[in-house]
């Protein structure tokens, strides 16, 4: 029983035509998923933090803690 002739041309082309669109789609999906599960929540967290941020109050708290050299706590 002799073997039939298989397809011997264009094998890589066929594989790429199948796999490349899938690869690009999955990569794009991964990037979109990362954007909306990681970077957007992160940006929102920063925005929420700074919405109510009082720079002067924080500065005075640090001053009283005595960490600055240029301005000493109000007690001294």
């Amino acid at each position: 029983m002799s073997l039939p002739k298989p397809v011997m041309r264009g094998l890589l082309g066929k594989r790429l035509r199948f796999h490349l669109p899938i690869a690009f789609t999955l990569s794009l999906a991964a990037a979109i998923a990362f954007k909306y599960t990681v970077t957007e929540p992160r940006k929102q967290a920063y925005a929420d933090f700074y919405k109510q941020y009082d720079a002067t109050k924080e500065f005075n708290a640090m001053r009283e803690a005595g960490i600055f050299e240029s301005v000493r706590p109000s007690g001294e």
């Binding site: 073997l3 298989p6 011997m8 041309r9 094998l11 794009l28």
Partner: protein
């Protein structure tokens, strides 16, 4: 920002579609909009002729094989027959066996190609006294 992404991906998709056209022709056809695409038979005949040169030298044999291996195809039995006879003219048993190893590798995951080619080349291999890598135990690590 998303509009920029969509614009880029649209052009990317279009150029990918354009290059898909060229990939349909597996071998050395350049992506001209003019110019004839060579048929499979013409391609095969050209390579059979290349290896049939009576005074082919070792460099031309190696160059021919390396170029042939670069294409997106497994060479036809008649091209390989011509190449093996060129090896015989050059007294190069090593290259003959290497050609068999190379076509097995070119077939990749398609395991039906190599047995078929060995079947087709069996008369030539017997006539020229070429052993296959399997017969020599060279197909295992």
């Amino acid at each position: 920002m998303f509009r920029a992404v969509f614009r880029l991906s649209a052009t990317g998709a279009r150029s990918l579609a354009r290059s898909q056209q060229c990939r349909l022709a597996p071998v050395a056809t350049r992506c001209y909009s003019h110019g004839k695409v060579e048929s499979d038979e013409e391609f095969d005949a050209r390579w059979v002729t290349y290896f049939s040169k009576p005074d082919i030298d070792a460099w031309e044999l190696k160059k021919g094989m390396n170029t042939l291996i670069g294409y997106d195809l497994v060479p036809e039995a008649k091209i390989l027959d011509s190449a093996l006879r060129a090896c015989r003219r050059l007294n190069d048993m090593a290259s003959a066996i290497r050609i068999l190893e190379a076509i097995k590798d070119k077939a990749g995951p398609h395991k039906d190609i190599y047995p078929y080619l060995i079947q087709e080349l069996k008369p030539t291999l017997t006539e020229l006294g070429i052993s296959t890598p399997e017969e020599l135990g060279m197909d295992r690590l």
